[in-house]
Symmetry: C2
DNA sequence: TATTGTTATACTCTATAACTATA
DNA sequence: TATAGTTATAGAGTATAACAATA
């Protein structure tokens, strides 16, 4: 497309940006996985804790919908978390088929610790970035996420 | 910390940015997973193809090191890719213990298609972003990735 | 003795399908 | 009849450990 003598290594800016984004996502994922493994957690289980932390007691069905996984999957994740004493199941007050899941004190502490760890990481990562540049960065992240969701919604499953 | 009457919902800018980054990483991961599933691939297998596309024929050992997984894991991934006719194993010319892995023509086409798909996505996502803002975004991604790697290197496994 | 790739085994996440108890 | 959660089964990714062939 472009003359070869003009910086042949320079790829398209959009491609470059998305490639960097993938790279960051991968490094970030690996790092978080390692950090959670030290706390005896996995990504999937942490997602459950996170959901319960923000949504309060919910049925397993609701949890499955929110996490985008099957009810069967939720059963397994909760079994593991319950064995570790992080969540507890209670009978639903009116619907005897359903189960209400909530965090135990231990589960709440563990989730709060995740939050703290994430904040510390954020402080480290963005220490050097000037406030206005950080704002632009955050806004662009939001814009791209929105756009990505729109693209995904186009191909309906 | 701050007076409550001052936008109580406004979190720390760094936290907000990292949270958005996690959100984007999750959406992006889900989307790519879905896209690759349509092509009969998984994330792990695509990573193998990607590595072979860029590194040329390598031993399984080198592949394991580069991907950050165990040699056993590589064996399984290659078995699957070979069954689909995407990679081939050849005897190493000088070391009779080792195996050289490379992409087949079909594998090369499939990987090139991934590249094209990614470029199309990039064009869609960043269509609205002005060039200078995109540059800043990309640079910040790079900076954060670097910083993240430095943090990870601190805790040496 | 060290290294390459494999077999053996196990754990986690994920899915579908069939089943039970309730609604 | 439909829904909530479970059992049963399966497949993918990952890991460790033991082993064979080769260096």
């Amino acid at each position: 497309m472009k003359p070869l003598h003009d910086k042949p290594e320079r790829p398209d800016p959009a491609r470059r940006s998305l490639d960097r984004l993938f790279e960051l996502a991968e490094v970030l994922g690996t790092m978080m996985q390692r950090g959670m493994a030290e706390k005896g957690l996995t990504t999937a289980r942490a997602r459950v804790l996170w959901a319960l932390f923000h949504e309060g007691p919910v049925t397993q069905r609701a949890l499955a919908t929110q996490l985008g996984v099957t009810p069967r999957n939720v059963t397994g994740l909760l079994d593991a978390l319950q064995e570790d004493g992080l969540v507890c199941r209670k009978a639903h007050p009116t619907d005897r088929r359903a189960t209400l899941v909530s965090l135990t004190d231990k589960g709440r502490s563990a989730t709060a610790a995740l939050r703290v760890g994430r904040d510390e990481l954020a402080a480290l990562l963005f220490a050097d970035v000037p406030p206005d540049r950080l704002d632009t960065f955050t806004a662009t992240l939001g814009l791209v996420t929105e756009r990505l969701r729109a693209v995904g919604a186009d191909s309906p499953e």
